[in-house]
């Protein structure tokens, strides 16, 4: 009886690991294969299923460094990406924290209705907003502006409400006594925010900064609509156009470009993966 249940236990354990490893392998193998393919020659890429190159070559990377249309290369494109991602991240951190503080800590006239609006905008699809926002930004003369205004400016006003929502959730677990203590010590509400709330929220703020970094660097629609000057192309557009131009023959170059384009995201992810897991768990499970 005992032996039987022990066998059953091991069979269960085996099945679990088997499923986990099999599914994991299927999920991750394309990525591993991609890394290998960047070091292969074009004739080798699609001739074998292995990811280790038989005759390793840097040809893909050398060609990936080439200019595109004479005005932009991969490093310039990466710089362009960062030149709007970093302001977006900083502005989101500030505006989302200030908004979450206002909703999470104060009673004021119209709070109820404004909070409902905030929650409703969580479900507002960007697809519906794209067309009228484009018209708005065209009228403002912001489309193709050198400073990526249509991509950056909205983040000054906490337009990514998911982040506000996440911060409000975190803020609920920060004891209100801390605010009151600060008030007794003579802090006004702004000082309380800076000296008490921000330090307490810093793990959550870091988490939304990481998500914003990831999403903004991978965003394709924004730059597709609002960046038309080749010299200002970010990585997402640069990779897409390189693929269209090369379709079919220079796969090692395209895959090398693709890998370079996700490298910053991958590095950030591996450095801070617990933060991502915490952030996404906290957003989903109400505290």
């Amino acid at each position: 009886m005992a032996a039987e249940s022990k066998t059953k236990h091991y069979v269960n354990l085996f099945i679990r690991y088997f499923v986990l490893i099999l599914v994991g392998l299927i999920m991750v193998y394309p990525l591993i294969w991609m890394v290998g393919a960047t070091f292969k020659s074009n004739s080798e890429i699609f001739s074998s299923i292995g990811f280790i190159p038989k005759n390793p070559t840097l040809e893909g990377y050398q060609k990936a460094m080439e200019n595109y249309g004479g005005t932009i290369n991969v490093w310039k494109a990466m710089l362009n990406t960062f030149s709007y991602v970093i302001p977006k991240v900083i502005f989101t951190m500030i505006s989302a924290t200030v908004t979450a503080y206002g909703f999470g800590r104060f009673q004021f006239k119209g709070r109820g209705i404004l909070f409902s609006i905030l929650m409703a905008t969580l479900f507002l699809p960007q697809v519906v907003l794209n067309v009228p926002q484009f018209i708005l930004f065209t009228k403002l003369g912001w489309v193709d502006s050198p400073l990526y205004l249509p991509i950056i400016v909205p983040t000054l006003f906490a337009t990514d409400t998911l982040f506000v929502f996440q911060l409000i959730q975190f803020l609920r677990n920060v004891p209100k006594e801390l605010d009151e203590a600060a008030k007794i010590d003579g802090c006004n509400s702004v000082q309380t925010l800076v000296k008490v709330i921000v330090p307490m929220l810093s793990p959550a703020i870091t988490s939304i900064a990481l998500f914003q970094f990831m999403w903004s660097s991978n965003d394709f629609m924004g730059p597709l609509l609002y960046v038309n000057t080749p010299a200002k192309y970010p990585l997402a557009i640069f990779v897409k156009l390189s693929m269209d131009a090369d379709a079919g023959f220079s796969w090692n170059r395209i895959l090398a470009l693709s890998l370079i384009s996700i490298l910053p995201s991958l590095i950030i992810f591996f450095l801070a993966q617990d933060k991502f897991v915490d952030g996404i768990s906290a957003g989903g499970v109400k505290g």
């Binding site: 394309p30 294969w33 908004t99 206002g102 065209t138 995201s265 991502f276 897991v277």
Partner: protein, 312 residues
């Protein structure tokens, strides 16, 4: 004495509040003011103007000649291409959302046993979600599903001649769906956090009652995490209806419009033909449909979602 102070308290509201007092009482409003401004300018105003444009023939270059027409909406429901795109979008959402949720829950459930290397597996499953929306992954997908791509090479290894995944209308949508299902990691992480919160003694009680692992899963685990299932369902539904990058980059909506999701048509209509009226009408139809589904989901909550405070 007490009477006097009561009178004093009662007297305060009668005194006309100065502007400064009003500001002090509503100080929170000033903190949400930037967000409110952003909402009005970047969301409410665009929504309202889009609704207006949808009843016009507004073209970015030709301007606006007809106002107050239903023609766009009539076209949405009578143009074959648009109706097909709506059907394809439904198909896409109804294939990807359940598959993604089932996969995410299943893997999270296995990971929740005392598995060695949980963090390693969690990372492996989560990476695709982090990168999945990027152009780079769409490019990779194209390399995997080409006629002589990775998948067909693998199939060939087993002696199977794989189909033309991307040029056969029967398979192309499947490839696009797979790209989304592949990104089940974020839903899985949310499920995993929820599963960790299920009290152990409930499992023990169920085991004493003779419930096997599967029985425990369906009668203990699932009911307790229904709020999280609901959250994932609604967010995934919203995302699925808006999918754009996959079909735009991998298949350009083809072959024979088999992967033309409604977001792709909206994009083409607005930014290739500059027909802003038509694009707005399509966007609103999509929005209303999505809203109906969301409302149905919210209303259905009382039949299957169990919130702990209701259980008492």
């Amino acid at each position: 004495m007490a009477k006097k102070s009561n009178a004093a308290v009662a007297a305060i509201p009668k005194k006309k509040k100065s502007f400064k007092d009003i500001c002090r009482d509503n100080i929170g409003f000033f903190f949400v003011l930037p967000w409110l401004f952003g909402f009005l300018v970047f969301k409410l105003w665009p929504m309202a103007s889009s609704l207006f444009y949808s009843f016009t023939d507004y073209n970015l270059f030709k301007g606006m000649n007809v106002i107050g027409t239903l023609q766009n909406y009539i076209d949405v429901f009578t143009t074959r291409k648009i109706v097909t795109a709506l059907q394809v979008t439904f198909k896409y959402a109804f294939i990807t959302v359940p598959l993604k949720l089932v996969f995410a829950l299943f893997i999270a459930y296995i990971l929740n046993f005392k598995i060695k290397g949980v963090n390693f597996f969690r990372t492996a499953y989560y990476i695709p979600s982090i990168l999945g929306g990027s152009v780079a992954i769409a490019v990779l997908w194209k390399a995997v599903f080409r006629d002589d791509g990775l998948l067909n090479t693998v199939l060939g290894f087993f002696g199977i001649a794989g189909p033309s995944w991307l040029s056969d209308p029967d398979y192309a949508l499947f490839v696009i769906c797979l790209l989304r299902v592949w990104q089940f990691g974020s839903a899985m992480v949310i499920f995993l956090a929820a599963l960790k919160g299920v009290p152990q003694d409930l499992y023990e009680a169920a085991a004493i009652d003779g419930a096997g692992k599967w029985r425990q899963f369906f009668s203990v685990t699932v009911p307790i995490i229904t709020p999280v299932i609901f959250y994932n369902l609604v967010t995934q539904l919203c995302q699925a209806f808006q999918e754009f990058n996959g079909p735009y980059i991998i298949t350009q909506g083809g072959p024979r419009n088999s992967t033309t999701l409604i977001s792709l048509l909206i994009y083409n209509s607005a930014f290739k033909q500059y027909d802003m009226g038509m694009a707005s009408a399509m966007a609103w139809v999509m929005f209303v449909i999505l809203m109906i589904f969301t409302i149905i989901a919210f209303l259905s909550q009382k039949y299957w979602v169990f919130y702990s405070d209701e259980e008492g």
